[in-house]
Amino acid sequence: MTRQENKKKHKWVHKDLLGLEYLSREDIELILDTADSFREILDRPIKKVPALRGKTVVNLFYEPSTRTRVSFEIAAKRLSADVINIATETSSVRKGETLNDTGRNIEALKADIIVIRHNCSGAAAMLARHVNISVINAGDGWHEHPTQGLLDIFTLRKRFGHVEGLRVVIVGDIAHSRVARSNIWGLTKLGAKVTVCAPPVLIPPGIEKMGVTVKTNIDEALVDADAVNVLRMQFERDERNVFPNQLEYFKNYGITMDRIKRAKKDIIVMHPGPINRGIEISSEVADGTNSVILEQVTNGIAVRMSVLFWLSQATKKIGHEDID
């Protein structure tokens, strides 16, 4: 009953979704509650509702991405919106057009929502300041990936029925991970206890200020954990050549069945994908009964439908929103 009451009181006011840092606990709960309703639609014979009929969603991706882009595309189509995909390799971006100009052109084309993935932290926020239509951050540099954070939290909440008090371990390249940052913002706002775990070189200095515990030993971190969120080791990003080698990483931090057996019996294993079998997670765990990795993929559609839905509700009444 409390969730229902929360729904009644809380109003969505944000034009954009740039990061979980800028949302309140109530905002996050509203998105998750509504995602529950959208999750049910995905199991219907006709998986489509007319809520965003006549709206246009533009996917603007400056970084390669299949799963996030497809997930947003499916989410928008399930809401009856029209979807345009712009892959920047084949667009006028190659001719030197700036991000803001591209954004304003998309706005002039009468699109309603831009979903942007960019390798620079802050790109989505800058775009949001220069256009009046809604902007969704689908990952900006090392900063945030809010819909991934929301779908991870949604998956936790569906499994445990609550988020408050859950012990969640995030293991992997914390320093370069926007997924980790969004998870930390969201989880701590909802009252979960977050531990980050990685080799010292992959832990950003000062991360404790975000309200997390830091551990460098994964076996210690997994004691009492309700869930472990395994990040992909992004070896392609190791420009300074400081990462441990793959075998060493798997030995010291890889999530193996051996480690899962020593953890809580019903611990759940999450991964934002794509998974590297035998590097950060063993096949046995990825395909095992503790894994919710594919559930996350399905939940991602529902969460993104919810975000698209609420942004389309806000734009009509509340004009430009300034986050800084």
């Binding site: 109003k11 509650d33 309703s37 639609i41 219907r44 809520a51 809401l79």
Partner: protein, 189 residues
């Protein structure tokens, strides 16, 4: 100032629901193909009550579902109030069934239009029949109820408020005259 007048008491509501239940079974010549779907929030409460009466009186078991019509509304983004989203729960096959769609108040007909569209996304029922506790008139779409608890002539400046114990803690139907009413309570369609 607003005035509030009780037009149906708890007992009267109970009797209307019992009568509606019998009418539904009579018109469908039995219960074998019946299933009941209520529109959130109060339509679903009434649906559960009707199902209970039919199950007890006819020694049957009925499928009961809840429908939230928010995503089908024609005023999304236009209404002054943000929508409140609830869950839809229809965990049975509606294919070939006689579906009784239930709402508390029939007014403009727009909610029922949403309900019909939403139901069709679950399959192809044999029939959909509409049952309402109150029909207050002022239709804006060509929609008519098959079963009406009570016809209640109203003016458009009035609000019909249905209260049911399960969600409101009390039962009764009230007409609120909202002349000079500043609260702007969301209109029930």
């Amino acid at each position: 100032m607003q005035t509030k007048k009780e037009v149906l008491t708890k007992d009267e509501i109970d009797r209307l629901i019992t009568r509606l239940s019998h009418e539904i079974v009579e018109k469908n010549k039995g219960v074998s193909t019946l299933a009941i779907v209520g529109i959130r929030t109060r339509g679903y409460i009434i649906a559960k009550r009707i199902a209970k009466v039919i199950e007890e009186q006819y020694n049957a078991r009925l499928d009961v579902g809840a429908l939230d019509i928010t995503f089908y509304r024609d005023d999304l983004g236009l209404a002054s109030e943000q929508p409140v989203v609830h869950n839809t729960e229809i965990d049975f096959d509606i294919e070939g069934k006689d579906i009784i769609l239930i709402d508390d108040v029939l007014y403009t007909g727009r909610t029922v239009r949403c309900g019909l569209d939403a139901l069709m996304d679950f399959g192809r029922p044999k029939t959909i029949q509409l049952a309402v506790l109150i029909d207050r008139g002022h239709r804006e779409l060509p929609i008519k109820a098959d079963y009406v608890g009570k016809n209640l002539p109203t003016s458009q400046s009035e609000i019909v408020e249905v209260k049911l114990e399960e969600v409101d803690g009390e039962s009764g139907v009230f007409i609120i005259n909202r002349q000079d009413d500043q609260t702007g309570e969301q209109e029930k369609t």
